[in-house]
Symmetry: D4
Subunit: 250 residues, 8 copies
């Protein structure tokens, strides 16, 4: 329902055409309509600058372009995740300004927020195979106007690279850690720093990794209290959450 209906009602109240009781009843018998009114409106104002996401895997190109089309009517910024180049080609036909972040397998439609703070989000991966998920997180946070640094491939086998960049680690305001297999890296990082760590389990691994379950469980059971987790391979969710809390908003 739109504002007109309520406006009309109020006008009728003012002109005396509708009595108070009758107006009260009208509001009551249209129970949820004003809810919609309020919700839509508040969301529109509050959500400024936060991107909407489309998960592409398992969807046809027609479905994806259809969803993008619908979302682009109400959202200034849309992110399509797990997107192939083929999908990008289809989206670009409708939105010529759409950009493709190949490493992140991510299409960006719409504006990127200006960077609003010197606070940095550090995105870390345990291995090379975790990079696409990490890039998805990084680009998402960048789109939301955050400064992002990357520190990749510093898992157990390459942990000396982590130590080499220790100032970077301590300088970060929020840290995202993507890891598959044993999922141990977020616990290690969480034990070193006193900043919020968002752990992203990835489906990297084989055998008893059970498509990321092993890493997910390890992250949920971390001994470091400053660590939270998102769904397996959910780089967008991690980047979005980090973007939310990085600028002093949260």
């Amino acid at each position: 329902m739109d504002r007109n209906k309520i406006q009309e009602l109020l006008e009728r109240v003012r002109s005396g055409k509708t009595g108070i009781d009758e107006a009260m009843l009208a509001l009551r018998t249209l129970p949820y309509e004003d809810i919609g009114f309020a919700v839509t409106d508040s969301h529109r104002s509050l959500r400024t600058g936060y991107p909407e996401a489309v998960y592409c895997k398992g969807k046809t190109i027609d479905q994806i372009t259809g969803i993008v089309e619908k979302l682009s009517q109400n959202h200034r910024t849309i992110i399509a995740t797990k997107a192939t180049e083929e999908i990008y080609e289809a989206v670009k036909k409708m939105h010529p300004a759409a950009a493709y972040h190949m490493k992140a397998r991510l299409i960006l439609i719409g504006e990127t927020q200006a960077v609003g703070s010197a606070n940095t989000i550090l995105v870390i991966t345990a291995g090379t195979s975790d990079i696409p998920v990490a890039e998805e997180a990084a680009v998402t946070a960048e789109v939301m106007g955050n400064r992002v640094e990357r520190l990749f491939d510093v898992g157990v086998a390459g942990i000396h690279r982590l130590f080499d960049r220790v100032e970077t680690l301590f300088a970060a305001n929020v840290i995202i850690v993507a890891a598959g297999m044993d999922g141990a890296l977020p616990s290690i990082i969480g034990g070193l720093v006193d900043k919020p760590v968002i752990a992203v389990p990835t489906s990297v691994g084989y055998g008893a990794s059970f498509e990321g379950l092993s890493a997910l469980l390890a992250m949920l059971n971390t001994c470091s209290p400053g660590v939270v987790a998102v769904n397996i391979d959910n780089g967008f969710g991690a980047g979005f959450f980090a973007g939310m809390i990085n600028q002093g908003g949260a």
Copy 2:
């Protein structure tokens, strides 16, 4: 929030003290409050006669009596499930009219609806150990004003008793089947009748029954399209749903 606030606003609109735009804004800046208004109200009128439930297992007696106390302010009928006699004694002190259905391990606080229809709900169990869950379902439906018949212990080992009571089976309007272990009975019943069957897996069994998981999976995978499932041991949910659909309401 209460009606007074909206009433005042409308009166100020009528008297011209508040302009239309301002009133619109007021409604917008008080988002959701009318939601509460509508929700509470509609629920109050619609939910007449449906009982509210308290799950007792794992709660202390103090917690249970506290919850019952709170619920009894807004609900005419409350059911406490998985209740021991000790819990009943505590509840009875507050609600002397409370009744204890021992087989169902269920306390009833408040009114039972009058029977509104000749339509019958038939409650079936595969084994003796499934009876408490089945009784919970049966009493719940009775409290909601339904006629209920019981047909217990007619699983594979006693299926001749099912065949002996076949008129009862065909005469029922809605059928609830509680079964543990292999959970096969709802499929068998669903293959014989053309009435809705609500399957209740029970935690009866051992070993690879995994506390009712085996029965639950069997029921979800039934080949009979007229069968739906509720949670393991959720007699209340099955009885409630059956009560909803039995009287032509649904």
Copy 3:
């Protein structure tokens, strides 16, 4: 066995050719044959108008056409679910009047029942990807002679669309909700309305959705007592059950 055999036996009893004891024995030594007699017959009369279903996924086209052929001898209406266009082409050769519901990925062979009641089944989805399963449910219920309304893509991200259509929600007699991922929507709907809600978990999601397990568990654990569940992606089962209970039958 057919009726003739029993008829002959009775005639021989009447003519004295067969004694009572011998006839008793004959009935006993043909133990289950009369069962078949009764079952087939009662089913034939009772099941009028209910469709039979073939699940196509994982079957070859030859298998599917073979099953359809066999079913079409005894059933007036057959539904083939999860059907590709290629399957449809093969079925159409045998049954030129077969219709293909593309969104529902469903082939309809045979008659649709006339609409018998103004009662409406409302089919809701949380997201766009849940639509095929929801359409499967909707078409199934329509084939059974029910009025069906659709309300798609009203999950958490689009819940304002749900509130915009709140009269539709309250006007429905039975509600089907298809949702993947967190499976939260049936609980929300079940908390708002006092009508039976049939929850259909879908395999939509990734990572820890475990192909629909997450949504299924959420639905089974719903706090709303008026909610029941069917198997993951089982749109047909949900539509069939809803069709059963919608017209006051149940």
Copy 4:
């Protein structure tokens, strides 16, 4: 090691060339060789007529023909299960007399035992999709020299066909039941007959059938004590076991 070695030792003992203590030591320092001696020998005599099996899924054609080649040196009868026609073509080049049972997806290399008894193994399926697994069981038992009858597609939806063939059911000596989804049929059959029932869960189903887990659990949790289970889709194992116990051997 071969018999010659022991024979030589014994001859040296007899001729006094080797003392008792030395011979004892020789036997001790050649531990296990006589084990091989005994094992191989007893197996050779006892296993007459029992086929050896190769599971083809996931193996290359080269691997399969290699294994068949090796096995055919020691076994009179080899069964290759889950075999495509392409595999059959490759095997036939080496073993021109090999036969392909298409429904069973099974290649037979070598002899079929003559039927040794009038005892019958009845192979039942719940649905059409269970037939390949059932045929695998049936052909395996036939190869071992058993009379086999088939009764397919008599699950819940077609249970009247089971009742129509009730003499067949009661006449069988051993019954194999293949079923997916809810896995209920073995429990039903086990409740009707007093003969051993071997339940074969199949991976037929979708969603919460979890590739046959649902059927497997149901079968393990059967209330009928005369029912045992084999692995999901293991038609060969069921047919082999039934063949073992059908002829009075066990």
Copy 5:
């Protein structure tokens, strides 16, 4: 329904009081009653000598004595499994002749069949903790009139005891193997003998044995085709099945 009803009908047919068509209708309109007739009767005659079982764990003493009471009306032999001495004391009051097999934690009410054949069932355990389950199997088979031998504690650590009794192993007609933890013993035995092996996983173990799941999976995945499995700790089911197939019946 009882025989009288059918007898009366036949007499009325003979006397001409009831016409053929009317009698046909009567039979049709009493659909399942004759089913019950047939089922009960055939079962009564066929099931002679097979014991009925009550699973005691998780049941109150009152429930158990109630079930025993009911079963003893129709069954000559009843076995109560997982029974404590306390339960035995209660049962003995009703059935003074009831016997308690302490190792098997099993109460026997009623007759033991006379031994009908020299064929032997061999019951094996991997460890000491598996003995109660094995004894449950052994006593069940003995009650059914089978000769039973025991060979306990011959798992990996004590496998030399298995080799010491190798004649026993080869002389057995049917073998039951109870094992927990890695569940390896049935595979080993199944690879040595050519007789049917019934594997009983036990809940013996800790950690990743997951209450017997590890042993169960190992047994289902055995490479030996002559091995079948029953539910975890289901000694009764294994003994019953072995008893069925041991005497040439199956």
Copy 6:
């Protein structure tokens, strides 16, 4: 890096070529060494005010007091979670100033930080049984110097209470939501607000809730991108993380 580098540095220090401050800086900017250096140091300064936690469940009182004793040497504030009154009595003997938060089942040893900001953490529960976990989160955040508001029992059944307090919801800076069973509430809240939501699954529920697994999976699969999860029943972790990000630190 090798020893030579350090040796050179020391030599330059000895020779006066490098000043103490410069050498200190060199050590800090060289990989590895400063790690240890930095870690200790940064931890000491940064961790001020962050509490250390002891999880009491499954530990003996002696173990708990021992751990508290050890921790209290290095930590100003210690929280003991899932603590009984008996544990509290034991701890109080050593630390007479220790306080017991009964609802939270939490012992606080040491100082509470002064409230540093008007930013509010809102702690929400779906049901009454989730309160202990929620209180654990709330008290933890309060100890860290945060303003905390509570909004309990606003799940599906009591969602009108959520709508009644909608200003509270929108005013919060960070939101913690504790829920068991279907775990739907964090998704609903995450869809309404644009603030970070920390979801805490609780082990409240029965049957297919699998001790909190159902709620955990629902929360990980949320459609709302601003939601992250911690371990089941981990109120401390949620409160700690919320405390970290609430004051603009993160």
Copy 7:
């Protein structure tokens, strides 16, 4: 069978009382007996000094003393794990020299091997609650004659204590790491050292640790190739394996 039987046979061969062929047959018709001969004997000589273990949890005191009694006939050293003091009291009555290692919850019956090498096994725990499992490993290795060092409570929260003892870490020849919850420590250690690491998951944790499953999966999925795992809480197995490989034997 014992040596005498073979000796007799050989003597009869020597004396000509038994022919070669007959002796061959005798050996063949006693198929596995020589197996037993060889196995027992080789084991006796090879296994010198390796202890045998009894797992006490879930066993009655009578069962435990019975097993210890039986084992003590053939084994010089027996370890009873997960043993309470009550069990120790019972064992001590039979074996007054039995010692109780309280921290390890372990009873030692029999001799400890003399330390044979300067090679050290280092036993590490992540937390305090992992100590009993670690002590079980440590004592087992000590009993086998190994030098053992302990480094407890050096998980993520206390990792500085690990760094403080880094010479110990690098000096160890074999390392055992016991950890629950996220199970991250073995991966960290395995990334630092080049010595074999035996990871022991413990059931320490709650919620999604699923009784040690989380730690177990993390350890199996470690990125460090020098790490292997044993069962949850299996300190004995880890200590035994470490003892085997520490002294250059392996």
Copy 8:
């Protein structure tokens, strides 16, 4: 440790009170700093000859060649596992000396260590399908300079081949056993020998093998204390660990 300590040390160096060597020593014996120092150093010296591994499955050829390129800068020997011939062709372009072990599906880049000891690692498989995983283990150990023997296809069905090669079994210093399905072989081997056994579960199997889970659980639950496990299909890890402990190093 704090800065003051280092500062003091430097000042003493400057003033000549402390010599360079003494200062070096002080730094090494102080916590933390030497960690970094030691780690780099020890790794460089110790890791000589240990290969680094790349897991190829699920990676693109570009990713693999990129990782190989990066690793080859710091590692003398690189192993690429689960590698197709196509991958080998790409790698060979960069590293013409790279070798392809087809059975092991493994590419070797760089040097093989000279054999340093007569100690032998025996690599065993249960079946033919386990050979690729076993070869991966064998080649890895060979690359590390170990003597390796192979004994394939000696599972339950071919166990006589194991007995035929019993000297090989007893002569081995370390044993690797690869097995899928029931995973029983490591338990059997572990019961026969007194040498360390490294069990590698393989994903060979179907149905309830759950991609190797069944074998993994069996191996973790082995009754033989000298058995440890690695991840499913992790031949490299098993070979690496065996190589570590075979030469008396561990």
